[in-house]
Symmetry: C2
Subunit: 143 residues, 2 copies
DNA sequence: TTATTTGCAAACGGTTTGCCGATTA
DNA sequence: TAATCGGCAAACCGTTTGCAAATAA
């Protein structure tokens, strides 16, 4: 994560406001502060933002994440929950524990390669992809 | 597609009604009648069902596809449209044309293998997976 | 100053549900 | 017959939007 969200906004011409800075900060810190697999949905984002500035409305949070997504700064995920989750644009995939909801991030070069190959086989240039694995923990002794 | 949806209902103890039979029929035929890449959303399903029996309500369509999904007969997809699509449970992936919305189905053994390997690498047994590729057609001469 | 953004509350759209009469096994 | 289902309309819930006041550049 070389560049902050704020820096990306500047370079992409996205105007910064106090609200947007706070939302950007919360998203950036959601990894460090809550661990690797923290994927807050919009509502949870709003809760965290509210603790910093309770006057920010949820409409602003929605507008901001959408804006950041359109600017290519964030990526939207849906998983199997009905609620949207946003995270910093970074090419990784997700392994989701169907029992606990835990989310593990992973990258795999071989899969990336295969995906490109498949797309081109059908005459397409790959521009985006989504890979979600759902699994249950293999128990070692107890669980 | 060896077994019909009706047969699957019987073997899974799902009670059959006229409405469910019609909905099952429409889903089964959505491939043959409309071509390989026909993935009707619930609303479109309802439209087609209505032509056979206009008295069937959309609530019944929703209840039925959900029931079939829970019985493991259908699989739900969301793609990037906000509307749910259901299709017969069959392990394939999707390549979506981001310009036209065309959907191409594909299966790839190598990818399946890799996915299992990755899951087990993290201590998980793979129980489900979702792979969506989004691409644009490579133009050959014109388009 | 001028365009853009925000907060509020109302609207939206896909999906679910409570009620009760109708239908299935 | 006993249990389940289906139709209707209202509720639900995540998300979007119109408006007027506030703010960024």
């Amino acid at each position: 994560m070389s560049e902050t969200i704020e820096q990306k906004c500047l370079s992409k011409g996205v105007k910064l406001t106090d609200q947007r800075r706070i939302i950007a900060k919360v998203i950036s810190e959601s990894k460090k502060a809550y661990g690797e697999s923290d994927h807050p949905d919009v509502d949870e984002l709003y809760n965290r933002v509210s603790k910093i500035d309770p006057k920010i409305s949820i409409a602003t949070v929605y507008r901001t994440v959408k804006l950041f997504e359109e600017a290519g700064i964030l990526t939207k995920h849906d998983f199997k929950s009905g609620k949207a989750r946003y995270e910093i644009n970074d090419d990784h995939n997700h392994l989701i524990d169907i029992k606990t909801g835990d989310i593990i991030e992973f990258v795999d070069e071989d899969i990336e390669e295969l995906q490109k190959k498949i797309a081109s086989k059908y005459g397409y240039k790959l521009v985006d992809h989504k890979l979600e694995l759902y699994g249950i923990k293999i128990d070692k002794k107890n669980e």
